[in-house]
């Protein structure tokens, strides 16, 4: 992996966490129950923490003086490397949970590998901590998938709809991509087809327990890793970045 690829790879990891954390933080104060305000904020906090560590690492490796905030607040949507899945609007609670469930299952596989790889020891340390957090996130989202799937008629219909709607965005997790291919070749990322099989199995098992139907389609939405996003990301960044961009001189 070249240095540029290495940095891009780190940004892809950091951006997934940051963008999903930012989305989840929108729930704070608006969740279906106080317990979920707390749980969703907690998950958002973990994700933001992961992104900070990864961004700082990317900035140091780059050596151009960009710190976590410079990278978070002064990159445009075309420079963001996150999955499209994580930037999608929150929708209703079921949409948020389904999005989280698909991502958590992916993050679990990815961080398990990242914690063990020897290509980048700093990432291994970050991943070891993150893995503990992601295990809790994955348990939380899987439990909700099951509750909503096997709850009432209404909740089952709603969460099935969320699953169906989000499904096309899950393929991007395992899509071929120059930078990720280089990371796989260096041993930094898990083998693609093995990771995808594991994901399919664990997602299938939870959907099954939730009495939900796993969608069949293999049609994929992608582009996030290359900075080609949905229409939503630019709005999200406009909101997130407004203050540092308005006061570029200021320290906070």
């Amino acid at each position: 992996m070249t240095k540029a690829q290495h940095i891009d790879w780190l940004l892809s990891l950091a951006d997934d966490a940051l963008i999903l954390g930012q989305r989840l933080s929108e729930w704070c104060g608006h969740a279906p129950a106080l317990e979920e305000d707390i749980a969703l904020s907690n998950i958002a906090l973990d994700l933001i923490g992961q992104s900070r560590a990864l961004l700082s690492h990317a900035g140091r490796l780059e050596g151009a003086g960009r710190d976590e905030d410079r990278l978070a607040f002064f990159r445009s949507d075309r420079e963001y490397r996150n999955l499209l899945l994580v930037e999608l609007p929150n929708g209703h609670f079921g949409d948020t949970i389904a999005r989280q469930f698909f991502y958590d299952q992916f993050a679990l596989i990815r961080y398990t590998h990242l914690a063990q790889q020897t290509f980048d020891s700093e990432v291994a340390a970050i991943a070891t901590k993150a893995l503990k957090e992601v295990r809790y996130h994955a348990a939380h989202s899987a439990e909700w998938m099951i509750r909503l799937g096997d709850g009432t008629e209404l909740s089952k219909a709603r969460i099935q709809e969320s699953v169906d709607r989000l499904w096309p965005f899950t393929g991007e997790c395992f899509q071929e991509h120059t930078i990720l291919d280089a990371a796989i070749a260096s041993g930094a990322m898990p083998d693609r087809s093995r990771a995808q099989n594991t994901w399919n199995e664990s997602v299938g098992a939870v959907l099954n327990q939730a009495t939900l139907t796993k969608p069949e389609g293999s049609w994929k939405q992608s582009g996030g890793r290359d900075g080609l996003h949905t229409e939503h990301l630019s709005y999200m960044l406009a909101e997130m970045q407004v203050l540092p961009r308005l006061h570029p001189e200021a320290k906070w």
Binding site: H30, P32, L34, E36, L45, R52, G151, S155, P244
Partner: protein
Amino acid sequence: MDENERGMEPYLCGESFHAMDLNQRFEDYIAADQKIEAKDWMPDEYRKTLIRQISQHAHSEIIGMLPEGNWITRAPSLKRKAILLAKVQDEAGHGLYLYSAAETLGANRDDLMDALIDGRAKYSSIFNYPTLSWADMGAIGWLVDGAAIMNQVPLCKCSYGPYARAMVRVCKEESFHQRQGFQIMLNLSEGTDEQRAMAQDSLNRWWWPSLMMFGPNDESSTHNEQSMRWKIKRFSNDELRQRFVDMTIPQVELLGLTVPDQDLKWNESTGHYEMGPIEWQEFFDVIAGNGPCNKERIAARKKAHRDGDWVREAASAYAQKMNAKATSNQTHAA
């Protein structure tokens, strides 16, 4: 403490007690600085007053999440975002402890929540003001959480055990919030001209509403005397307000900012700051529902609750199914 060692037990199993004795023993018990626990006898009025006070406090925590939640997605650095998110999350936790404390008195969280979203319940009026800039995250933490601490620290020693214990946890976290809020103000006051102006503007807008958080002047305040005797209120509104001003003015000076009170002056002989008159009309207007954000706050709470109906219903339907399964498994096993 063992259930039997609890001081309240004797007057429940005395031989010839009647209501007068119970009341007297209750008053004596509180006068002796003993804690009342959930299962102890208490006068209806004590129970009602506490439920009202605790649930209003719980509602304030929950509504208070909204004005600060308004800036989480726009926090200007990732560190500030994390701190603010954690703070607002703490407030949700405070709401939870306090609803639980109210439940020990026989209230029900769902009913309390309904009262809040139907507009029947009160909460701290300060949260009916809008958060217009990032500096408001500083001013709220510093002044609003600061005022809340002034009000709440004495409640850590209030006569009702579950409330007192909840307040101990809450106050620890509130003092973090207060420090973090002050940090934001300090950071802004040492920053660019625009940042300083932002901090001053925010202090201008939050100063008087913060002073109003202590409630009306002592002369015009109701239910004070009984609550003081019952030790569920321990200092008067004016005493607490004075303490707050005395504590805060040196901090304002440290920030190099000024409070929007031309009459404010140090009184050498009393050792206290004197403040100008408070616009009580504004206070009563906001309480009456005419503050800038009353309708929005309740509407946001109501929307969250209504949008969550199907989720909570699903969770309880699922829990029921699982219980039924567990019961039938037990029957089969037997």
